[in-house]
Symmetry: C2
Subunit: 153 residues, 2 copies
């Protein structure tokens, strides 16, 4: 009984913790995007392009869950701000692909460098096997979010 209680307390703590972390993530990215003249979704869509490489507007829409109209406006903003460019697909000239640009990456990297530094300093306080456990948990949480995002679409 006491173990069960402790367990459900742990689970309540987990939910509260993830909510708090999500809130700070969103507020941080909101402020970072604002300082670059972009919306938070713009910045994260640029991140998806950096992760996965060039893709069509339709593919980016699928990955982000944004409507066609929203994606077009988003690409316009990112292109204007120098983060991406529209280019004819070399493999199929009828298709237009969105290509992430290095200049934008550097700009964003600078903005996140203090956050990255602090995170790295935190990691240095942990043993290799502890980090392995933590990172494995976080990978699984990321996969869960990816699945849940699919359900929401």
């Amino acid at each position: 009984m006491s173990t069960r209680n402790t367990r459900s307390e742990t689970e309540e703590t987990a939910i509260q913790l993830f909510r708090k972390m999500a809130t700070r993530t969103i507020l941080f990215h909101q402020a970072a995007a604002q300082s670059l003249g972009l919306f938070p979704t713009d910045l994260k869509s640029a991140d998806i392009l950096n992760e996965a490489g060039p893709m069509t507007a339709g593919e980016l829409g699928k990955k982000t869950g944004l409507s066609t109209g929203s994606v077009t406006a988003l690409i316009d903003r990112l292109e204007k701000a120098g983060y991406v460019m529209r280019k004819k697909d070399p493999e199929d000239k009828r298709r237009v692909i969105i290509v992430p640009l290095t200049a934008g990456k550097a700009n964003v990297k600078q903005l996140f460098s203090s956050l990255s530094q602090s995170t790295v300093s935190l990691c240095r306080q942990y043993k290799e096997e502890e980090l392995h456990l933590i990172f494995d948990f976080l990978k699984k949480v990321t996969d869960i979010m990816e699945d849940e995002l699919e359900k929401l679409k």
Copy 2:
């Protein structure tokens, strides 16, 4: 030398992992907010109100890093959607405070229930002491983000 290399690889992994997680967090909240007719920042501001309790528009602006105009528009949207109400501060009638509403909480809770369930299921696969280590790390990451948000403002 080899240990240093492994270490910096671990750090690179950490940064990549946090980026991926942040991207999914933002996209999930974007989709969730969209389905409620709100912006992601709206939902997270409602969360801050739920965490900290009623506060003035000025205080909410400080906590979210949003401008006065943005906060006013945000409170308008949240009030219209039934997540908050504006009320005279019982301790100082000249002040207006923003009060989070339970109905809004239930609505948001439902939307996040599948995500919460999956997260809880994941936690059940871990030992108590492992979760303690992971949660302590995540608390520290959340504190870092809070500090870094202050720097960006």
